[in-house]
């Protein structure tokens, strides 16, 4: 069994605590133990940067140092957390003075940022460390007939120094969806349009205009659902899309670990699919919402 440090960020709180259970089980099925690093904190959500960039570097150096102390790499299951952590790593690895300054602060807690831990985003980890073949073998409920639009989200594509996929032609999700027996739809209008998540609390109107673009394009291209490796894109496409357009226009979105869980044979509730605001009951497989 492989083992990796797990960074939870703010994704698994509120109504979403179950998402972590799903993730943990899926990874364990795939031969990876997620060691939850309980002391890690919110990355600042690319927002504390507005108050104090240095603080963002400090708290994320701390987050990384916590993994390093246990001798583990860090697995991050959110695009934005990934970007913020990777930007910190990039800054500290390229600026010894900054690293030394911050290490002085971390020393109080007995921590040190060394730069030895690799920061993995969920998607490349699944592709490179787990491997498509292994995933394929574990599939118990192939997604036959599912037409699935792949949606990568911004923060694993840009900026360049932290991108984990080809920024101009991202790949990997399609291969994964095919491995699960589904039919990936890669090219559709709006596939590269931002989900709008981060503008919801700065300018709601813009956010609600953005969030419908990818779903609308996906629908036109014949997709029934969207799949994304980012829990924030998922939340935007689930909650904000629900506010932004009429029922018949809505396209349900699924967070990557959920669809993995479903294809690996978990019941829809265990996979987290029954908790969605935009229910999966109108698609051909018909997964009714709970309750």
């Amino acid at each position: 069994m492989k083992k990796i440090g797990f960074y939870q960020g703010c994704c698994f709180q509120g109504p979403d605590a179950h998402m972590f259970d799903t993730l943990k089980k899926v990874f364990s099925d795939l031969g990876v133990e997620l060691k939850l690093l309980e002391k890690t904190t919110c990355c600042g959500g690319n927002t504390i940067d507005e108050a104090n960039k240095y603080l963002v570097y400090s708290i994320n150096a701390r987050n990384i140092a916590i993994a390093e102390k246990e001798g583990l790499d860090l697995l991050v299951s959110c695009n934005t957390c990934y970007m913020v952590l990777a930007k910190t790593k990039h800054a500290l690895d390229n600026d010894p003075r900054l690293r030394d300054e911050i290490n002085k602060l971390l020393a109080e807690e007995g921590l040190e940022y060394k730069g030895t831990a690799k920061i993995w985003h969920l998607l490349p980890y699944l592709l490179e460390e787990v491997g498509i073949e292994k995933i394929k073998k574990k599939v118990k409920r192939p997604l036959s007939g599912w037409k699935i639009a792949t949606y990568y989200g911004c923060h694993i594509k840009y900026p360049k120094e932290v991108a984990v996929v080809d920024s101009e032609d991202p790949k990997g999700l399609e291969e994964l969806i095919s491995a699960l027996g589904g039919e990936p739809i890669k090219d559709y209008e709006g596939k590269d349009v931002c989900c709008g998540y981060h503008a919801y609390y700065t300018n709601k109107e813009v956010s609600l205009k953005k969030v419908v673009k990818a779903p609308q394009g996906a629908k036109k291209a014949g997709a029934e659902v969207l799949v994304t490796p980012c829990p924030l894109c998922f939340k935007a496409q689930d909650i904000y899309q629900d506010m932004a357009q009429a029922d018949e226009q809505k396209v349900p979105s699924i967070y990557l670990p959920e669809i993995l869980a479903y294809a690996l044979g978990y019941d829809p509730k265990e996979a987290g699919l029954t908790y969605h605001i935009i229910p999966l009951s109108k698609i051909s497989v018909n997964i009714p919402p709970a309750g």
Binding site: G14, E38, D49, K53, C154, Y201, K269
Partner: protein, 386 residues
Amino acid sequence: MATAGKEILKGGFRMSQEKVVLKVYRYNPEVDEKPYYREYEVPTEGVQTLLDALFYIQENLDPTLSFRFFCRAAVCGSCAMKVNGISRLACKTPFKKLVERANGRPITVEPLNFLNTVKDLVVDHDKPFENLKKLQTWCEPKQPIPEKEYRVSPEEVKEYERPTNCILCFACYGSCEAVMDDPKYAGPFAFSRVYKYVLDSRVDEDHKRQMVKNAMEVGDIWSCVQCQKCIYVCPKGIRPAEDIQNVRGKAAEYGFKEYPGVKKVQHFVDWVYATGQINRLALPEEVYGVDPTPLINKFKERGAEVWEVPKPLPGLLEFRDLILEVMKEKKPHLDIDFHHVRRIDKKVEEIFKADVCTKVVEQFEEQREDFFSRFWKKISEFFGAR
């Protein structure tokens, strides 16, 4: 077709027989009813940049094709266009790489997004230039004007070196997610420029404040979705998305507390200090004054367990120390609101005492005394230091 490039391109390149198709956007508003695309075959070898490829077309295949250029060296900013959907400077884009990437498919060349077409690949720059003026991005000198000159330290110059390099090519504007959905949005480059003047010690303080206010009210800076595309496409390594974060921080520092975005940052700073986490269920209330109960109920109807506040992390006190230490050394744009933190603390204690997380409560109980004495010590230190 003959490869007659030899006398056409500078430096007398030898052209290969192999060709790639360029699918080029054509539109002359004076005669064409609507835009159309024309395909041209361009040799794959011997053409250095995309700009060279356009010259090849103009001089060998179609003299009516219009595009803008001047310096040919990524300095003047006039040749930005969209190549396979991505904003680039034609003179800085190696043709070979485009050909490799195209892998036999046509390469699409179009004018920048969100700007009016003058003709073909030439766009009208008036709007973004106008936006700069509206934001008043210029230097109103700080008074009194020194007799000899303003002294500027090298460290200061380094701070705004990056935004100073902007060549106003508008590649960022043509890629911007906020421009796409908010016609009022001034554009990434415009806010980088605001930030540059805000950092400049020679600029009058009132004018800085005015520029930040303009950025919000005239330029809609809060519409930025932080997609980072502007950073990706900028040919000069400017990082507008991050400059935007700094201008927003300045807005908080100047006390523009009524903006949702400022309330959002306050939420992040306070909750992360208080619990190590933000609280997504408290955001609607704290930013928009909207009761989140209907949404929470939807999740409950679906059987989801809902946590009202995030579980405080183990080692919270050390984490708080770290935050206070950092804030003491690097003055933040926005301070922690300790009244808010106290309210959060109370809520956390109420909930976790009565609820699941006994571990945390125990830890709280054990450290309670220690906690409060350290807490107040830190706060007095913190304020004492300012």
